[in-house]
Amino acid sequence: MAQTSSAVFDTLTQQLVPAAGPAVVSHGILVFTLAPAELLPTVRRLRDEFAFDVFLDVTAIDWLGHSPGSPRFEVVHHFYSTQHKVRVRLKTRVPEADPGVDSLVPLYGSAAFMERECHDMYGIAFRGNDDLRPILLYEGFVGHPLRKDYPKQQEQPLVPYRS
């Protein structure tokens, strides 16, 4: 019989804390908050030792002005295990001056496009992803539109407007 999700969570918490930082359960997802340097080792252990075989998503949160004292961006990864049927979320804070984390492309091929999107929208640099060309935006777009300091209605049209 498969382990219950709480048993899996207990095992993960025992095995990964403290290297992966503190862990809490939120909406049925086990959440780790870890340092950028711990991201790649932790993901490798999740994949190889705990059968987290699906990379679900990577996105970011811009905490501009909402968390003084801590780094501005929070990069959020989600993983799913088809064996245990549980999800894990990893949160990593990166500063505005160097908004970069290690790319997960060596571990999950599907990370390539999702990291491109995250780079489009938030300007997170994924070290190790060689192809961070725009995927939803277009060549020549200046800035990152989902950052909180991007002006809400600033357009960058490709076709000159009719006067």
Partner: protein
């Protein structure tokens, strides 16, 4: 024994003298012909497509207005129906399609996104296709009712019927 079937006698038709010729204005005649032969090119990008399908299918039957046969080449069409949100990334494609259409050509902005960008007032969406191509008829609504689309087609037909249709222009 049955009676032989009666045949209808063939008679030579008298040549009619009625309607041998009519007199009209060139613009009225060409406008009348053009307004009932609109070949739409559906430039369909978003959820308004569902409403476009409803309009062009049997219950609403735009064929009554001669505007039901979509041409999937811009070179064969004369009504560009822009159905749905157009993003800045897509604007060059829309402009290229418009420029490939032969004269005479008309443009319909179908739905609020094509008309003004709708609620997409942000970095991604073009705030109305009239920023890049001239628009003849705007249909508001999110999405518009089929009746509104039919009303738009009829208004466009009125516009075509009323406008001037030069046969020889400066460039030709």
């Amino acid at each position: 024994m049955t009676a032989p079937a009666k045949t209808i006698p063939i008679q030579r038709a008298e040549p009619s003298r009625a309607f041998e010729f009519i007199s009209t204005k060139k613009d009225e005649l060409i406008g009348w012909a053009r307004k009932f032969s609109l070949f739409p090119y559906p430039f369909v990008t978003a959820c308004c497509a569902m409403e476009f399908m409803a309009v062009s299918s049997t219950p609403y039957d735009t064929d009554r207005f001669g505007a039901a046969l979509p041409r999937f080449s811009p070179r064969q069409s004369d009504l560009l129906m822009v159905v749905g949100t157009v993003t800045h990334k897509q604007a060059p494609i829309l402009l290229k399609v418009y420029e490939q259409m032969c004269e005479p050509k008309w443009v319909m902005a179908f739905g609020v996104c094509a008309t003004s960008g709708g609620f997409y007032q942000n970095y991604a969406a073009l705030p109305g296709i009239d920023k890049i191509v001239p628009v003849d008829v705007y249909i508001p609504g999110c999405p518009p009712r089929p009746e509104m689309v039919i009303d738009g087609i009829m208004q466009l037909q009125d516009k075509i019927a009323r406008s001037s249709h030069p046969i020889i222009t400066k460039s030709f």
